[in-house]
Amino acid sequence: MTGEIQGGWEFVWAAYGVSAALMGLYTASVIIRYRGMKSRTTRKREGLS
């Protein structure tokens, strides 16, 4: 017995999964919010000019 922690892969997958999900979703949300805002601004500009 070396005191090595056996297994624990489910925690490894959980950590990587949460990280990928959170960073992915946040990146997507920023891009979507930016695109939406941008098209709204361009529409406003074009609509008034």
Binding site: T2, G3, E4, I5, Q6, G7, G8, W9, F11, V12, A14, A15, Y16, V18, S19, L22, M23, Y26, T27, V30, I31, R33, Y34, M37, K38, T41, K44, R45, L48, S49
Partner: protein, 254 residues
């Protein structure tokens, strides 16, 4: 007083730069995580759970970096008074909160198999949790103040005050709970563990730099629509970004 001579939002000459950074970051993260999950050997004591470190430590470094950068933006925003620093501050605070929150979640997932509890009041993790709430408070502050100039000043000031608190919180939690582990840096882990740590660190760095650039552009667009008075026919005021009443009359430049 805020300097309104610069435009709030200018179309970048290289609008695809942040997307390229996000792409590079994603690729790096995929490579680094692959090495961390399948190539690197299991650690002697921690076993496979050690692999969490390959994503946890890079997140920690980047969270720390982003919050420091937010502090610098806050100082620049306060003393330079240019709107661009306020937009960057807004993006840095949000990205910092996301990374710190992620750090807390990873820390809890790491603590469970290691110590048998989800949360062990480790000073670094606890400080991060306190900072999540401190910076969430600043995000709420930004939402509750409508006047853009006041919002910029107040959130910059609040960021400076919250950032000064980081070492104090760390020391107090450290004394309060003397149980803590060694600082994780490439120097304290063996040679074979360096590679995934470094690749993932740069991966998150590139990814989040790209995201922060887009987030700052979003902030600039929003600020612009707040500052813009009812549009004159030529739409010129969109580019000038003056606070109504402070600059020359918009649309009717004398």
């Amino acid at each position: 007083m805020r300097d309104n001579s610069n435009p709030v939002y200018t179309e970048s000459s290289r609008p695809w730069t942040p997307y390229a950074l996000i792409g590079i970051g994603t690729v790096l993260l995929l490579i680094g995580s692959y090495i961390g999950l399948f190539v690197a050997p299991a650690e002697h004591y921690m076993g496979d759970v050690q692999r969490i470190m390959y994503v946890h430590v890079p997140t920690a470094w980047n969270a720390m970096l982003v919050l420091s950068v937010a502090f610098i933006f806050a100082v620049l925003s306060l003393w330079r008074g240019d709107w661009k620093w306020d937009n960057r501050l807004e993006s840095a605070i949000e990205v910092g909160v996301v990374l710190s929150f992620l750090l807390c979640v990873q820390g809890a997932i790491w603590a469970k198999p290691t110590w048998g509890v989800w949360w062990d009041w480790d000073p670094r993790l606890t400080t991060t949790a306190v900072m999540v709430f401190a910076f969430l408070g600043i995000m709420v502050l930004r939402n509750f103040v409508e006047e853009p100039g006041r919002r910029a000043t107040w959130s910059a000031v609040a960021t400076i005050i919250a950032f000064i608190d980081v070492p104090i919180v760390y020391f107090s939690v450290n004394w309060w709970n003397s149980l803590h582990q060694l600082q994780s840096s490439p120097e304290t882990v063996s040679e074979s563990f360096h590679l995934p740590l470094r690749i993932n660190s740069f991966g998150i760095l590139f990814l989040m730099t790209g995201v922060m650039m887009i987030r700052a552009r979003l902030a600039a667009l929003r600020l612009e629509s707040e500052l813009a008075p009812p549009l004159p026919a030529d739409g010129k005021s969109l580019e000038s970004g003056r606070v109504p009443g402070t600059g020359p009359a918009v649309g009717g430049n004398a």
